[in-house]
């Protein structure tokens, strides 16, 4: 059984938690500002700095490496800005250029200096995380956890409306710089766990997953932290199950799994909720069509309509779900195997017919539709208009009494009741 309290495992778990939280917070801002691949640029651009730091510092002091890396990251950002300012190139090209050219510089330096320890940054080595790394991680994590929520308001303003921020005198430059440096520091630390390529996974994927649950920025940040931490710890756990399993990629796959679940089940834009929503709509529309159908039979024959489900199926196709739902809602009566309108059902049907015929009037009078072309459109529109709008429509048309085909437009029953 895995000894979770073993310091090496504990430090890996703590590192995963801290990284998950830091990356989740920063990642939220990054995703919301559509800077998702800026993290990728930074993680590649810092390589020259890391190589210089490793070759330079005899004692392999992590702070020296970090400082050099941050310097390289800032240089990368400056290069990015310079490209945008001095060339016609678009941001995506500029990003790709800085990313790959700085990385090339790093590789050139490695081929000359061959410092040891670069592997840890390129591929990540969670197993090599020691107390110094944790101290660094805790400091960076604390700073992030304090700075980001505190500056949230500021960041939000600067993110969504930089122009306004500048006009109102907010220190846009300063905020951006602080954010960028914090991002770079976190990325360099994260690189030691998951490697240069997968830092983007820890930044972007949890935040993207959180998006499926909420629109609120603060909620999204909180969820991103939870997802990032959960994914990170899950990755750590899985890598303990067998020898020589790479922890970094497993962490990335774990957060991706969380993302996949969110994409499937998340209430906003999630696949399953959307499928269910659409199915509910189709049921409602089918049911309303059935109500109208029965009402129109009554209008034509003068007697309340009764139909078997099979007869209805003949007209509309299988409607079991619609019939069940609408009888549960008290709009249809299904005694004796025959389907009838209830009082409420009759009222609802009247509203629908009213809507339909008003729409037909509107389309012919105001939208230049030909009389024989209006039915299908009105057939669709009738399901999507509620009472206040029906009244508005009637007013607009001057309270008409007949539709373009000569059928009477039922009056507004609530008004009649009054």
């Amino acid at each position: 059984m895995t000894d979770w309290l073993a310091p090496s495992l504990a430090s890996a778990v703590v590192a995963a938690l801290l990284l998950g939280v830091s990356c989740g917070l920063l990642g939220t801002i990054v995703v919301v500002r559509r800077m998702a691949l800026t993290g990728d640029m930074i993680s590649h651009a810092v390589l020259p700095g890391i190589v210089a730091g490793l070759a330079w510092s005899e004692t392999r002091n992590p702070l020296v490496v970090l400082a050099c890396a941050v310097a390289a990251g800032v240089a990368g950002s400056a290069a990015f800005a310079a490209i945008l300012r001095h060339t016609r190139l678009k941001p995506d090209a500029a990003l790709a250029l800085v990313l790959s050219v700085f990385f090339a510089l790093g590789i050139a330096m490695i081929s000359r200096l061959q410092p040891s320890g670069v592997q840890a940054f390129l591929y990540g080595q969670v197993a090599a995380i020691d107390r110094n790394d944790l101290k660094l991680l805790v400091s960076a994590g604390l700073l992030t956890v304090v700075a980001v929520p505190a500056g949230f308001h500021l960041l939000r303003m600067v993110s969504f409306d930089p122009m306004f921020s500048r006009i109102t005198g907010l220190p846009v430059r300063a905020v951006e710089t602080v954010f960028y440096v914090l991002l770079t520091v976190t990325i360099v630390i994260a690189m030691q766990a998951v490697g240069v390529v997968l830092v983007t996974a820890m930044l972007v994927t949890p935040a993207a997953a959180a998006r499926y649950f909420t629109r609120s920025l603060s909620m999204m940040a909180a969820l991103a932290c939870v997802f990032g931490a959960a994914g990170g710890v899950a990755g750590v756990w899985i890598s303990t199950l067998r020898d020589a399993l790479p922890t970094g990629p497993l962490m990335a796959l774990a957060v991706t799994a969380i993302f996949a679940l969110s994409a499937l089940l998340g209430p906003r834009h999630g696949w399953l909720p959307q499928v269910l929503r659409r199915r509910r709509e189709r049921t409602r529309i089918r049911g309303e069509d059935i109500l109208k159908h029965l009402w129109q039979i009554e209008e034509n024959t003068g007697a309340p309509a009764e139909r078997t489900p099979e007869q209805l199926a003949g007209v509309f196709g299988t409607s079991r779900r619609a019939l069940q739902r609408f009888s549960a809602l008290g709009l249809l009566d299904r005694e004796g195997g025959l389907v009838r309108l209830t009082g409420n059902g009759h009222q609802r049907a009247t509203e629908l017919v009213r809507a339909h015929r008003l729409w037909e009037r509107y389309l012919t009078e105001r939208a230049a539709y030909k009389t024989d072309h209006v039915h299908d459109t009105a057939e669709r529109l009738e399901h999507w208009i509620d009472e206040p709008r029906r009244r508005l429509l009637a007013e607009q048309l001057g309270q008409p009494t007949e539709d373009p085909h000569g059928s009477p437009i039922p009056p507004d029953e609530t008004e009649v009741a009054r």
Binding site: T2, D3, A6, P7, S8, L9, S11, A12, P48, A52, R60, A75, A78, A79, A82, V98, V101, F102, L105, I107, A108, M109, I110, S111, R112, L113, Q114, S116, G117, V118, Q119, A120, Y123, G124, Q125, V126, A127, A128, I129, D130, R131, V236, S239, T240, L241, R242, D243, A244, L245, P246, T247, G248
Partner: protein, 310 residues
């Protein structure tokens, strides 16, 4: 602009170091991949050949990033010597292709018969543990193919080369005896060698040590978490006082293990996949030895191990 300046400055600084490759002087050129192979070529070839190593001291052969001068050297070499057994990674297939084309390319491990090679701990599908130089008796077997190859490219000095081969084999045998004696000083219950990666199995087999590394046979693979926790448990259970760092590998990983298990980190690193700087002298048993040579390296290692574990 800015980026160009940064790049220029760095490259100037980096390039200013100059090339360590020797100039052409008419002698046959031997190109060696690792420092161990280079040393072997130098010991046996003497003044008859010019030897150039591709990888410098302290360079990890598993992760070697090639550079421009490598091409020219490989092109001009009269003989290319490499360690083999996939130590050099994807470089090996290039070298094999060169050999197939008729270039003079020799793997020094070819002198070691298959049955004396170890299979690595992981399931490596027929591949062998490449670190056979850990055992001087096996390294001695590498002398023959090198002597044979050198005699072909420097036929005028064939006699001298063969003699040097004999002498070196004797020297290695003496080294082996000395190492065995010295290592006997380590008590039975402490004969466990824990290092950064699985480089010492042959050494362990030769001198009766149990061996365990944090990373596997190749440093290209990340050390898994389970490997680390397993190693810590192992250290505690065995009651070993010291673990050893390696010169070509960043010590962070093994240092963390040491701290966690409460054991000492050896003050002297071991040379595993690379020799030291040529001319880097150390005193062992009253004699000075050059850690840039195989013999010096082994003496240093044995000394460090004895000091750490006794």
């Amino acid at each position: 602009m800015f980026r160009w300046l940064v790049m220029l400055a760095t490259l100037l600084g980096v390039a200013g170091c100059g090339s360590e490759r020797a100039a052409d002087d008419g002698r046959p050129l031997v190109v060696a991949t690792t420092t161990m192979v280079r040393d072997l070529a130098e010991q046996l070839g003497g003044e008859a050949v010019r030897v150039v190593g591709l990888m410098g001291p302290g360079v990890d052969p598993h992760n070697y990033v090639p550079r421009m001068s490598d091409t020219r050297l490989l092109e001009e070499a009269d003989l290319v010597l490499y360690s083999g057994l996939h130590l050099e990674g994807r470089f090996q297939s290039t070298l094999e292709a060169m050999a197939k084309r008729g270039r003079h390319v020799v793997a020094v491990s070819a002198g070691v018969p298959d049955e004396r090679l170890l299979a690595p701990q992981e399931d490596f599908e027929g591949a062998k543990d490449p670190h056979f130089w850990g055992d001087p008796a096996l390294w001695s077997l590498a002398v023959e193919p090198v002597v044979g190859a050198l005699r072909k490219i420097a036929p005028d000095d064939a006699e001298a080369i063969s003699q040097r081969g004999e002498a070196y084999r004797a020297e290695l045998a003496a080294l082996d005896r000395w190492a065995r004696e010295k290592l006997a000083q380590v008590p039975e219950d402490r004969r466990v060698l824990v290092t950064s990666h699985d480089a010492f199995f042959y050494f362990g087999r030769a001198y009766g040590f149990k061996v365990r590394g944090l990373q596997g046979v190749s440093t290209a693979a990340e050390a898994g978490l389970r490997d680390r926790t397993g190693l810590v448990e192992f250290l505690r259970a065995q009651g070993i006082p010291t673990v050893f760092t390696e010169t070509s590998i960043n010590e962070k990983g093994i240092a963390a293990v040491a701290r966690e298990a409460g054991v000492k980190l050896s003050p002297e690193p071991l040379f595993s996949d690379a020799l030291g700087e040529p001319g880097d002298m150390a005193r062992v048993d009253g004699e000075s030895c050059d850690r840039g040579t195989y013999t010096g390296m082994l003496k240093h290692n044995v000394n460090a191990i004895v000091k750490g574990l006794e």
